[in-house]
């Protein structure tokens, strides 16, 4: 992408534009075709410790540190030589005094009227933001290992007790079932929290591949069936065996499982139906239940993080309020669309609409 410098009629505005660049809060530097600095604004001088006079005639590589992977520079030149804009937030630069900062930078080629190419770099210091993100990531890693390991021990131990062949008294059975169920709830909440964190830090990405919906839905039915059997409700399925979509299989499974566990949690009698309906452009996967429904006046809030409908709190006081927030966020990551139709005391249908001819970027 190239931006053309316009002169002529608007040439008289140029001093004003220059002033705007001189005083911009982001550090801006401009080089000629040979990457020799011909201009640096005040913010650039302040960020790097070099004055504009010191910088002019030198190359921006005076800021190079050993900490930026060489492949990033290769990627940059590949981009620029193909006349494309290059962006990164992984550049570690060095100031005149030797101190380092992490920069978010955009570099783009600029073509003057005479055909000469210049390069413009706009950067700002994201060291603080990057270290806050690192702290958050470290904290999450700590949680995942330090909390999940003892939790796994509790889950596995109580599962062994409740499944042991030796006779348990009714009270022992009850206690083991309770502790097992609590450990599973806690594991699911941790799983949801970690997923929320990955989504919110932009680390959750879709891996698109060909997904056999029939196999996926069969697998989900297999996972959920024991939970259905424990309640006196029926599970119906209605999907054809030959539907494939370009999507992320793990994310799809995650979304459908959230919808199904909600349906299970909030349906006391009747049935749950999983359906897949295909047409030329999309597949609609729907989960319908005959449960408590969502009160009309609260329906606009249900995708909010931590929100729980008043009747949902009544049925199940200990939910996290993360499920639908996650389902909706994950749907967006795979370019799908989640909608619902609900009548209080009658039931809810959630529909995940997946575009059929999705071309992965």
């Amino acid at each position: 992408m190239q931006t053309e410098i316009k002169t002529g009629e608007r040439g008289r505005d140029l001093p004003l534009f220059k002033k705007a660049v001189d005083h911009a809060a982001d550090a801006i530097v401009m080089t000629d075709t040979n990457a020799i600095i011909i201009y640096a604004n005040a913010a650039w001088a302040q960020l790097t410790g070099y004055t504009a006079e010191e910088a002019i005639g030198k190359k921006p590589s005076i800021l190079r540190s050993q900490k930026t992977p060489p492949s990033l520079y290769e990627e940059m030149w590949h981009c620029l030589l193909n006349r494309k804009t290059f962006r990164t937030d992984r550049l570690i630069n060095q100031r005149k005094d030797g101190s380092e900062f992490q920069a978010e930078i955009t570099i783009y080629p600029l073509c003057a009227e005479d055909g000469t190419t210049y390069f413009v770099g706009v950067q700002h210091d994201i060291t603080e933001r990057a270290s806050a993100e690192q702290l958050r990531t470290d904290f999450i890693t700590l949680i995942s290992h330090q909390l999940r390991t003892p939790l796994t021990a509790i889950r596995w131990a109580t599962n062994r007790i409740r499944r042991s062949k030796s006779a348990l008294t009714p009270e022992e059975r009850n206690l083991s079932e309770m502790s097992y169920a609590a450990s599973v709830t806690m594991a699911n909440t941790l799983h949801a929290m970690l997923l929320v964190s990955r989504i919110e830090t932009g680390k959750k990405h879709a891996n698109f591949s060909q997904v056999d919906l029939y196999r996926l839905l069969e697998r989900i039915r297999y996972i959920i069936e024991p939970n259905v059997a424990a309640k006196s409700i029926a599970l119906y399925t209605d999907f054809a065996s030959d539907v494939c979509v370009q999507s992320d299989v793990d994310i799809l499974q995650e979304i459908i499982l959230i919808l199904l566990s909600n349906a299970l949690k909030y349906t006391q009698k009747g049935s749950i139906t999983v359906r897949a309906v295909t047409n030329d452009t999309q597949v609609d996967i729907s989960v319908s239940d005959t449960g408590v429904g969502i009160p009309q006046e609260e329906q606009h809030l249900i995708y909010q993080k931590f929100f729980r409908a008043s009747n949902a709190r009544f049925v199940s006081p200990d939910g996290s309020g993360l499920g639908l927030y996650l389902a909706e966020s994950l749907a967006r990551i795979i370019d799908a669309h989640l909608t619902f139709d609900s009548v209080e005391n009658s039931g809810t249908t959630f529909t995940l609409r997946i575009p059929l001819h999705h071309t992965a970027l």
Binding site: T141, S144, H145, R148, T149, L151, T152, A153, R155, W156, A157, N159, R160, R163, A187, N188, L190, H191, L194, R198, K203, K204, H205
Partner: protein
């Protein structure tokens, strides 16, 4: 023929539980408590499959995967960890693991059904 499985896990209770459930399915279990032991035992015992934790003392799971690749050991490795980040999963897949299980998201009796498919057919 009994299949052998090497389980690398630093938590003693989890290691014991995994070993127990796999023995119930007639697998011969070789136990490693850190990555260093795991590499040594993989080289000497040639298990049919490896169940590998990631965060372990001395040598971590990633390094075990790397070492196995350098040694050109063609043994299926299933990661069994409580680290569930996409980045870690991707890194392990790039290093050649065949599957990735998250411990706290599963019951111990689901381990065998999950790894069964990677055992060589008799």
């Amino acid at each position: 023929m009994t299949h052998s499985v090497l389980v690398a896990e630093d938590d003693p209770f989890l290691l014991q539980t995994i070993a127990m459930v796999l023995q119930e399915h007639d697998l011969h279990v070789i136990e490693a408590r850190d990555g260093e032991q795991a590499i040594n035992l993989i080289r000497t015992e040639h298990p049919d499959i490896v169940l590998l934790d990631l965060l372990m003392p001395k040598v971590d799971g990633y390094s075990v995967l790397k070492q196995m690749r350098e040694d050109a050991l063609d043994i299926p490795v299933v990661i069994i960890s409580n680290v569930s980040d996409d980045m870690d999963q991707q890194r392990c897949r790039e290093l050649g693991c065949v599957d990735y299980l998250v411990k706290s998201d599963m019951d111990e009796d689901e381990i065998f059904p999950q790894i069964k498919r990677y055992l060589p057919s008799v």
